[in-house]
């Protein structure tokens, strides 16, 4: 397998062709925040927290590091002002939706004290779900089931358990530990007697 060499935050790293910039950065111990990345799963590129700036020649642009493949001679910056401003806005936007645990920790790390945003209206209540889709993709890609899925689109998108898969679902619970936003932690608290 061919390897490529690139620079991340000024440090040189060699990675296998086809790996993502995120993986290469993590191999150097560089901590790029993510919600929707998990090594056993295909990258989805939906949380956008892993965005970084890349420079090729004279052009600098933003890319999603979990899906952007490593390239020879690429220069990557993971903590620029532009990148961190995007992360702060993402956190601000997610806080009203999923105010518990992990998003809060991210808020502390990136210095977001308070969100300007809020939820309004009868249908809009905190769900503690950031819709990262880890549970959905784990169920589909690792378990080979589709017991968890997305319903609706746009601002009405939500994660739902599929009714006819209930038998399997009640005992598996492997996705619980993946949950980023406390949604399944909450559920485990509500149903403590379940295995």
């Amino acid at each position: 397998m061919n390897t490529v060499t690139l620079k991340i935050n000024g440090r040189e790293v060699t990675a296998k062709e086809g790996t993502s910039v995120l993986e290469a950065a993590r191999s150097l111990g560089i901590d790029i925040p993510t919600l929707c990345a998990y090594e056993e799963l295909e990258s989805a590129g939906v949380c956008r927290l892993c965005m970084v700036e890349i420079t090729r020649g004279k052009k600098t642009r933003l890319v999603t590091s979990c899906v952007y493949p490593v390239e020879n001679g690429l220069e990557v910056q993971t903590e620029t002002d532009r990148v961190n401003n995007i992360r702060r806005m993402l956190i601000e936007l997610l806080l009203p939706v999923a105010p518990s645990g992990p998003i809060n920790a991210l808020a502390k790390r990136f210095g977001v004290e308070k969100s300007r945003f809020k939820l309004e209206g009868p249908k809009e209540a905190p769900t503690n779900c950031s819709l990262c889709g880890l549970c959905v993709r784990y169920c589909e890609q690792v378990k080979g089931e589709h017991a968890v899925g997305f319903l609706g689109r746009g601002v009405n998108r939500k994660v739902a358990l599929m009714a006819d898969k209930g038998d399997e679902c009640a005992f598996c619970r492997q996705c619980y530990s993946l949950c980023n936003s406390g949604r399944f932690v909450e559920m485990a608290e509500v149903f403590p007697d379940q295995p």
Binding site: G45, I86, K118, R153
Partner: protein
Amino acid sequence: MKKLKSVVALKQFQEGLLAEQKGIKKSIAICEGTGCHAYKSGAVADTFENEIRRRGLEGRIIIRRTGCHGFCERGPMAKIFPEKVFYFQVKPEDVPEIVEATILKGELVDRLLFLDEKTGKRCAYQDEIPFYMLQNQVVFGNNFMISPRSIEDYIAAGGYSALAKALSTMSPVDVLEEIKKSGLRGRGGGGFPAGIKWETTRNAPGDPKYVIVNADEGDPGAYMDRSILEGNPHSVLEGLMLGAFAIGSTKGFVYVRQEYTIAIENLPVAIEQAKQLGLLGENILGTDFSFDVMIHQGAGAFVSGESSALMSAIEGRVGEPRPKYIRTAVKGVWDKPSNLNNVETWANVPLIINNGSEWFRSLGTEGSKGTKIFSLVGKVKYTGLVEVPMGVSVRQIVYDIGGGIRNDRKFKAVQTGGPSGGCIPEKFLDLPVDFDELSQVGSMMGSGGMIVMDEDTCMVDVAKYFTNFLADESCGKCVPCREGLRQMKRILTDITEGRGEPADLETLEELGAFMKDASLCALGQTAANPVLSTLNYFRDEYEAHVRDKKCPARVCRELIVFHIDPRKCSGCGTCRKQCPTNAISGDKKIVHIVDQEKCIKCGTCFQVCPARFSAVTRLPGGPAPAPVPYGTAVVQKAKGESK
């Protein structure tokens, strides 16, 4: 039908059709496009058929139920050949007179001709009608000559001759080079050069390669692709086949939205007819080129028009965009090279191959060649589909073709490019319309929607409309687009309902810039355009909402106030009787008063107040003027005085 096994056989078939038509003296083209269809043009066509039969004229006069003629506002339309007399708003009861006068005697039926309000003149022929005068219907023009369900009509009008030319005298590279030289840019949104896209797919490794028609047109108010596909499906198929030939593809898809019912009825007919004639399938016209096409019906999602989402849908998965740093032209459907162009782009291809790239380059501007079809809708006098050379100014489209603003109101803005586009203010009326000029002023060509707005349109309300549309139509996958739109929608709702705060405008701008940088696909990256462009050009309107809690265009319900002018009220009681919440008090000859507490601002009083009094007024914002004491007598008017 017998299979045509060579290019010569196609030519002979066409000549045979033309010879048959020679014996026919007249033909009548009745528009059955979506607009006219809704005006019941089918009944008009039926009546024509009956009338011709009744008079024993069958075989001598042909009636064609055709696709859209463009001037949808004046449907149903009938055009009579060879004179090219154009009748508008034709009803079944007008038909005997048309047959008697025009078909038999060659006389005009005056009242059905277009009346040019400016000159007071009736216009009998297409090139006298202002709506058509500036147009150059190169893509759309054949609609008059063709019944979409007749491949014979298409072939008689020169159809499939571009394919025959390519297969007999050109190599795939020749076709590709011709399209590259023509400068044809994609008519679906971004305006990417079609030839370069084709070349990418042609050179990409992988087999098979796919060619795809994007007929997922979903911008509010836009229906040009629909009308091409409904009215002239073979032109799209022929373009697709030429693309397939150039790219080296043998399989194509037409991704068409389920809502386009006439297109979905006509397309399979067209494909079946082409197969029967040997114009689709194995060894087309006796050559080595084989091509087949499949129809994929969209399940009703706006976002599926995005290339990667559309391809996911074709694969049978949810039509959601995927993060991509490899273009779909290289890795598309089932990771195979896939070339996607929209309907209008494909329909231009046979014209370029037939007439040459030089001809195409002679139309349009330096950077945008050819013509573009716009759906001209909103507050203009004449609405419909207009095809103009690129570079015609907004003013020409709105005033010369569209006849200006309805009810002689003042022009305020034109929204182009659908939900990803923006609003262009009056100062850019002389802007030549092409891909680059529109982008420079913060809007875009998009697929060609053009919504004209007048002074009674609230720009904050417009931004809210498009934001709400996108909040529902985004796939909801990535955080910036989903949560960004959710918050934009909330902020805009707050502003239009009087809860806006000064900081909101900066927050909107910051969110907009962020969504452009951080969203996963083009839908999210452009979703803030309606907000950003209106904030840029109409900031004062936003400020009036936020600071003064007023809506200058008197649209935003929560802000405006209905007030009865005590000097004008005649005490007729019309508004009082129709008010749904009994918010109006008064009596005969007693000045009526609106109880602002009870008023739900439905606007009924405003609409029903007789025009000769016009006593009910809409004020941009509160507080309402203090009411006169109950029981005040109306101002007596002298006899004959109306105001």
